[in-house]
Symmetry: C2
Subunit: 371 residues, 2 copies
Amino acid sequence: MDDRSKTPASSRLTATARQRPSSVTLQDVAREAGVSAATASRALNGSTRNVQSDNVSRVLAAAARLGYVPHVSAQATAKGSIPTVALVVSDVADPYFSSIAVGIIDAAEAGGLVVTMTVADRSPEREVQLVRTLRGQRPQIIIIAGSRINDTDTRGALIDELKQYRAAGGRVVLISQPELPFPTVAIDNVDGARLLARELAGAGYRRLCIIHAPHRIRTSYDRYTGFVTGLEESGISMDANFAMETEFTRSGGYEAARELVERGLRNIELIFAVNDAMALGVMSALRDAGLVPGRDVAVAGFDDISSAVDVVPALTTVTVPLRTAGLEAMRLALADDDAAGEAGIPTVWIPTAVRLRESTPPVSGRLITVR
Amino acid sequence: MDDRSKTPASSRLTATARQRPSSVTLQDVAREAGVSAATASRALNGSTRNVQSDNVSRVLAAAARLGYVPHVSAQATAKGSIPTVALVVSDVADPYFSSIAVGIIDAAEAGGLVVTMTVADRSPEREVQLVRTLRGQRPQIIIIAGSRINDTDTRGALIDELKQYRAAGGRVVLISQPELPFPTVAIDNVDGARLLARELAGAGYRRLCIIHAPHRIRTSYDRYTGFVTGLEESGISMDANFAMETEFTRSGGYEAARELVERGLRNIELIFAVNDAMALGVMSALRDAGLVPGRDVAVAGFDDISSAVDVVPALTTVTVPLRTAGLEAMRLALADDDAAGEAGIPTVWIPTAVRLRESTPPVSGRLITVR
DNA sequence: TTGAAAGCGCTACCAC
DNA sequence: GTGGTAGCGCTTTCAA
């Protein structure tokens, strides 16, 4: 660490040393085209109408000949902001976030914006710090994708930071739960889990175990709550013994399931993990214990990540149109909601859909009765 | 100064209400701290040694009080470049690239650099265009991760663009194959595939089929070549009939395997797909045809993506330390190789390692003989 | 339509 | 040590 922090200093010096070597500027282009910088600027970016067409082409030609690329930072200092959208995700390697990113990137590119992606590493503190740093870049839009965590300290700090950004003319959009005073794209976790529970109850499942993450992680909490609600609506009351708390990861799921098997499954028929990664961990633990997922114990997840269809048996889960969520976020960001005023904070709900697969066969169809 | 006081805040608010709204500047901080802008700047960023300590604290306090965030673009126009590393990947949603990204992001953050990630969508043209756009942002480093594609037109354009960037003081690092005149982090695909082939040959496999992507995709070509080499080294000569070309995706693998089964497997004992996604597609096609992967036909892939251990049977593959590749790329980028001169283009080889799993049981241990 | 010139916010050089 | 001041490259009035 210490080493690392020292390393960049020297390299920065190095970079500084040859920092200002040639680089074609607007002046160069203007000179080459025989016009003023102002005209060149107008020809290149401003409303083309006000520049004589032959001058326009002359400038364009000169720019092409010289390989001119506008200095975005200079444009930014002159104009005030940069045509980028800064995206903060919790984890790049998680398909959940990368799918959202895909949607945002597609929509942004269509709008001529470049997406800058930074990673908060699932830490609320880091998230606040990142927003601070990003503010300095003056992006036009900041989108934060990630489950809210109940953590009042950083929550307040994040709101402050975001408000300052907005006060400086930036647009903020959140992809998570609608609990912060900013436009939000909300995934309907509660309802998805509720419907899943009802479907499973309809398939005959009665004895279930919910494996979830700590309740302060909203996504997990919402799915947990929704599932319980769905069960209750189906006349199944949740026995507290059948919920286990663990980490929000594959290994969290593995550990929980291992412990469950060790303690004796009783006659649990189905394990619902609040995300697919955890569910895969659960399946793995079951297999390691000599049990066959979907036959000995059914398993369900949430997210519908791509491996959900590659495991055997294919995983029952709830699909979340993540790319759509990303697109919607950009739509919200670009929407001119000044008209709407402060009347209401726009919230877009993204619906989810249950995907029943082989990991949860109808109970009656099961060949081997759970002991 | 006078100008400033004349530039009426009121007119700003009216004229360009959303364009240039308040935003604390260095001037504000300096005024608040009762020092000059120069001193404030030095206190905030320059070598602290040259500023009286009480002034430093006064400035820091003022900055904190005002919620000051430096305007990165302004710093950039003044300094010449921005403390960011621009990363170009082919596909965000692909774990291959997101793993590399993780490594780069970790290393960059340790060095105080922000990572900007853009997506070329597997198109060489788009890649060139992105580099052009990115050049405009004047990042300190540009890293391109993605398989080179034999495409001489865009290849030349890319080299030009990159050279111009370097001429302007930027650092370039490639993560792919060492075939462009820039520092490169190279994944040893050839050797990984070669060793895999030898291991499989050692396990008793003799009749194999290679499913690969078009040869102009270097990654696929290298793995194909390496695998063939490995077989030959083991005394197994490749019959051309046993290679199939398809897309570099899961569905490409699926289709190829489906076709293979349809045409009759003959007595193929093992299918090697040049990446795990394709291998998963192969497995899926086999299952859909009523065959059991690993029992009826063995399957092997390359990459060791996370689902490789979740499928049943777990997939034999070649693990690629992608995060390490990312770290190495940053190391190369920050390395002061001016001393080295143009003598040689630094290339770091990332070793790969074979992971034998249940999808390729030793042939003798198989219970059911392949028909 | 066009050019001159005044910034945008910040850094860096140069005297004091 | 510290404060003027001259840029950095670009946009945008304001006259002409």
